[in-house]
């Protein structure tokens, strides 16, 4: 429990960055109609945007100012850790009429995270 608490504390303090998220379509029951792929690496963004914001946190001018204000007034929240670059995936699936479709879906994979 102590180790878990320590790890949680460490995770809580971790700066904003990209984390692994493997989506398995069978887990959500979509493998019945999605032919390929069986799943994909989606990733997600998580972490804090601390004051002062470092360069690698890929922040906007607004996020820098918001973080600065948060440092003096905690009523104003910190900037959010969000996807800043996304990429598409192609899905081969059967639609509701049993027609086979290959379609490119945009913004399905997180390529980069940042404070916004």
């Amino acid at each position: 429990a102590g180790h878990r608490k320590q790890r949680r504390k460490h995770q809580h303090k971790a700066n904003c960055h990209r984390h692994e998220l493997d989506v398995d379509f069978s887990e959500v029951g979509w493998n019945e109609w999605i032919v390929a792929p069986p799943g994909y690496h989606a990733f997600y963004c998580h972490g804090v945007c601390p004051f002062p914001l470092a360069d690698h946190l890929n922040s906007t001018n607004h996020a820098i100012v918001q973080t600065l204000v948060n440092s003096v007034n905690s009523n104003i929240p910190r900037a959010c850790c969000v996807p800043t670059e996304l990429s598409p995936i192609s899905l081969l699936y059967l639609d509701e009429y049993e027609k086979v479709i290959l379609k490119n879906y945009q913004d399905m994979i997180v390529e980069g995270c940042g404070c916004r």
Binding site: P37, E98, V100, Y105
Partner: protein
């Protein structure tokens, strides 16, 4: 999760979280469900039967074109150049099998014609068709060897042309027409216009791809009514109806023209449409396009 796209576990967890009244929870979940369906361009959750067939060509296209696919896969030999170009502009590729109950087969004087109807009503109105190909499978005719090209007057099987001088044995012509009107008399022929044509050798087994973009674009945009296609297999050196039918069996335009029923689902004609809904990039891989 059988009824919708949200897994039952997720639904239950949200409902039991106590953040909302049961009615509100249900409304929020239903709204989210609609967003998911809209994201995929679906009206309801697909529930394909066991008989649903995924054409191998679509799997090949997925492997070849998809951003997450196997990029070592080469372009299928039978894929027309126009189809490859079309795929580089489209973000959606759809495949259709014809309605077998509406097919009409006829054989006369050395030629076999087959009428196909493809139900394209599932293509959303906002999708712009950039191209379409009709694919027909030909089995090799055993005992027939490729005719030497130096002594013949036909063009390459890869090139479309309108020359109808087909005088060489082991060669036949496939014509693809758009049907744009019913026959004037009950025994008459439908009104058609030629979309694509090709001379092919009996000695090769392969898919033939025909460009049917003009017709499908018109049907999709509402410019003309979808009466289907007519495929004509023409053998210049056959003697009669039976001879024509025997020769036509290796062109798999109809279930009734060949005996191997098991292979029919993967050998039957296939209409492939390439379209773009205005959202996102083409199916073609970014790196390939850059290259």
């Amino acid at each position: 999760g059988a009824a919708g796209l949200i897994p039952e576990v997720g639904r239950r967890k949200y409902s039991e979280s106590g953040k909302q009244s049961p009615e509100q929870s249900e409304n929020f979940l239903n709204e989210f469900e609609l967003r998911l369906l809209n994201m995929f361009g679906l009206k309801r959750r697909p529930n394909p039967s066991r008989q649903a067939v995924v054409p191998q060509y679509m799997v090949d296209l997925y492997r070849m074109h998809s951003v997450n696919g196997d990029h070592s896969t080469k372009r299928p030999r039978s894929m027309g150049r126009h189809a490859e170009r079309a795929a580089s502009k489209a973000n959606t590729i759809r495949s259709f099998h014809h309605e077998e109950s509406m097919e009409a087969l006829a054989s006369l004087k050395g030629r076999t014609t087959q009428q196909f109807f493809f139900n394209l009503t599932s293509i959303p109105g906002e999708e712009l068709i950039t191209s379409a190909e009709l694919r027909v499978y030909r089995d090799q005719v055993l005992g027939v060897t490729a005719a030497p090209t130096s002594n013949t007057s036909y063009n390459s099987s890869n090139s479309s042309n309108t020359n109808t001088s087909t005088s060489v044995g082991g060669i036949h012509r496939i014509n693809v027409y758009e049907v744009f009107g019913a026959p004037a008399s009950p025994r008459g022929e439908p009104l058609t216009r030629l979309l694509d044509t090709r001379l092919v050798q009996d000695s090769l087994s392969r898919w033939e791809s025909f460009d049917v973009s003009p017709a499908v674009s018109q049907w999709s945009s509402g410019g003309s009514h979808n009466h289907g296609f007519m495929v004509e297999v023409f053998h210049p050196d056959t003697q009669g109806v039976e001879d024509a039918q025997r020769q036509s069996r290796h062109v798999r335009v109809s279930r009734s023209l060949h005996e191997d029923q098991d292979s029919w689902p993967q050998a039957r004609p296939l209409l492939v449409t390439y379209s773009h809904d205005g959202r996102g990039n083409a199916v073609l891989h970014r790196d390939k396009r850059q290259a």
